[in-house]
Each structure stands twice: as structure tokens, then as C-alpha cells.
Symmetry: C2
């Protein structure tokens, strides 16, 4: 990967609503995307679906491939994980060697079903911190996208939601903010990785609001003078 080329983006657990939503946006923005899954079959189905959606949108060429999660993590320059919290640790353990020296975009929200509207942060403080602790210092874990509804990501239109971007390395946060912008949103430096707790907790609040308004709520940062 040189400074002239876009990084290859791998999405682990990329067949779910969040993963396919990000895949669509990044592919459409010109990134080479790898959809990873536990089985190649599921990843291939997701890739086929994505091509169909792009055809409907009149997007001529996108570069999207299907792989199993480990191969995806090996092939990606930047790796995102969009699995349920209950699968986060096992998935990261599997791909840990492949992530060394890379950025991991952690999209995990530590919801505890069935009470997903209740803030129940894990031991360790946040899913983002858990990922950083598990992967070690040579992986730059950056937490992002916790407050964006998957339904909005899957649409082709603009997303009325800002993204809080937490991580211990500024350069890594900046690279992820570029990916946020490529996906059509504003990203904000939101502090070190343990600040992921804020975005993760907020997701449960947004779920509570969604139930009241039958909507997919998000947030905007106000007052920054733009």
C-alpha cells in the first residue's frame, strides 16, 4: 500500500446489516473491499447481493471479493469487524496474527440481548478497549460507527449521523475518519480507545429512542461553529 493507492478494506463478519452497509458505501467510494465471513458461501452471497444493489444504482464497477474471515484479515490493509459482541473476542483471537501492524476498525456494540435498550458496558469498560487489550499494542484499534443505523448505511442516500472515532493513535484515527467521510458522514476525534464506552453506551439510548419514534435515530455534534 503506497500513499497513492487506497487501502484495501476487509470487513470481518461482513455479511450482516452493518457489514454490508459499510461494504456498499466503501465499494461505491472506490475502495477495494473484502467481505469476510465464517464461511466462504455466506461471503459470496453477500458479494453477489452487493453487485445487484450496485447495478440497481447504476454503479458500473466496484471491486468486492469474498473470503473467510482469516483470509480477509490477511488480505486487508485496514480491517473492520462488524460481528455481534458475543462473537467479537473469538473472531479477534482467530485473526490476531493477521492484524499485527494494521488498523482494526471496531464497530462492536456490547449490547446484552434481550435488553438491548439498557446500557450494560462490559468488564473492561468497552468493546473497543477489550479489542485493544486482546490484540496488543501493535494493532491500532479504532472504534467507530456505533451510532449509525445499519438501515441508513445500506441506503444510497446521505446519512444524518456523525461518527465518534476513538483510538490511542491519532494517525490511525485520521485514517478511519477518511473512511467515515468516504461512507458519507462526518467523523470526530473522540479521544482514546476507552472513550469508545461513550459511543457504545449511546447505542442503547438510541435504541430506546427508536422504539418511541419508530425510527432509526442518530446523533449530530452541534456547536462546533460550522
Amino acid at each position: 500500500m503506497t500513499t497513492d493507492t487506497l487501502p484495501v478494506l476487509a470487513i470481518l463478519g461482513g455479511t450482516g446489516d452493518l457489514g454490508t452497509g459499510l461494504a456498499r458505501r466503501w465499494a461505491q467510494a472506490g475502495y477495494e473491499v473484502i467481505i469476510g465471513s465464517r464461511t466462504l458461501d455466506k461471503a459470496e452471497t453477500a458479494v453477489a447481493d452487493l453487485h445487484e444493489v450496485m447495478a440497481e444504482r447504476g454503479v458500473a464497477e466496484v471491486s468486492v471479493r469474498a473470503m473467510e474471515n482469516l483470509a480477509a484479515a490477511e488480505a486487508g490493509d485496514i480491517v473492520a469487524i462488524t460481528v455481534p459482541f458475543s462473537h467479537q473476542a473469538a473472531t479477534l483471537e482467530l485473526v490476531k496474527p493477521a492484524l499485527q501492524g494494521k488498523i482494526l476498525v471496531d464497530v462492536t456494540v456490547p449490547l446484552v440481548p434481550p435488553r438491548v435498550g439498557r446500557v450494560q458496558l462490559p468488564e473492561g469498560g468497552s468493546a473497543g478497549q477489550i479489542a485493544q487489550d486482546l490484540l496488543g499494542e501493535d494493532v491500532a484499534v479504532v472504534s467507530a460507527f456505533q451510532n449509525v443505523a445499519a438501515a441508513h448505511l445500506q441506503e444510497g442516500s446521505g446519512v444524518d449521523c456523525d461518527v465518534l472515532v476513538c483510538g490511542n493513535k491519532k494517525d490511525a484515527r485520521e485514517q478511519v475518519i477518511k473512511l467515515v467521510e468516504a461512507a458519507g458522514m462526518r467523523g470526530f476525534h473522540a479521544g482514546m480507545i476507552n472513550n469508545a464506552a461513550a459511543a457504545e453506551a449511546l447505542t442503547s439510548v438510541l435504541i430506546v429512542i427508536n422504539k418511541q419514534y419508530s425510527c432509526h435515530a442518530g446523533i449530530r455534534i452541534t456547536g462546533i461553529g460550522d
Copy 2:
């Protein structure tokens, strides 16, 4: 207090930036406000300041009194607490008997100086939960206003920030949402009291953003179809 009259609002630790900001807005909205402090002197100074500001704004009559915290808690129908986290428990212990049967609006944010931009939620999960546990079930603790900059509250103009309102009793949340609206903002039912963790954690993120933009950032809930 009947349904025809507005509740009397007491603000414990009401001489700080947040407390005086809320006092100004509620007084201007026609509520009878009691500014409580550890010493009557300080409360009286705050009341005098408030009258000056109201005069500057051309607001003819407001009803604001000064009291020590315990007397304020006794005299208020609804009691707000706007002390630093380090004083929250001691202040609540002092006024606990006076709060029974009432609503406590907890504005506490568990910041840990000097690293106030770092999310460091307390044992117990949140300041709101700590207050509820300390005061017992006969006090309806409602967490609110954590993400609104005091500087904006002190101004007379509109505030571009929504307020997340958490508490175990819906009726109590609704009464606090009325107070949010009286102060010029939108309030959202944001779940049970432990969900206060989300708003409290978010304050540190907003502090991080404030430093980058030299601003007083806030949040807006988006996507609710308004």
C-alpha cells in the same frame, strides 16, 4: 403543589456555572427558583447576580431565593443537583430526608480531573445510578443536562443541544422533560437511570471535541422524522 401551579425548583450547588445557567432559564420561564449552596452568603450572591442579568435582559419579575442546601431541598418540589462529582454523595447524604417522595434531577458528570476528556465511569456504573442507590426507591432520580455547556445555558439565546433524560419512572422523566423544554431545549426519554452512563460518558467526548474546535459542543438526536 397542585396541577395548576408550577413546581418550586431548588438547585443544590446552584452557584456554579451550570446551576446559575439553569436558574436563569427556569426563573425566566416563570418558575419559582431556590438557589442552594453550602453557605447562605454564596447563594445570596448568586441570586443578586441573577437579578442583575434579568434586569439587563429586560425581564421584569423573577422569583428567586437563596438558601443553604438542606433548606433548599426541603423547600423545593423538584430538586436539582449541580455539584462536582466529588461532592455529589456528601451533598445527597445531607439532604436525603428532604428528598423523599420528590424528583431529584441529577446533573452530575463523573469527570476525574485532571483528565476530564477521558471516560472514567465510576463503580456503580454512573453518577445517576449512584444517586438512585444512595437515595432509595422513594426518590425518583432523573439524570439530565449532562451534555449542555454551562456557557450556553447562561446565555439568553437558544441552545443547540438535546437533553437525554434517564430515570426509572416515566412520570418523573416527563416532568423533567417539561423543565428541559422550559429551559429551551428538547428532552428525550433515554431509558432507565443506569442509562445515564451514556450521557455522562459523552460529556468527556464533548470535552475532547471542545479542545479541538475551541467551542462548546453539544449533541442533537437525528432521524426521528421531525
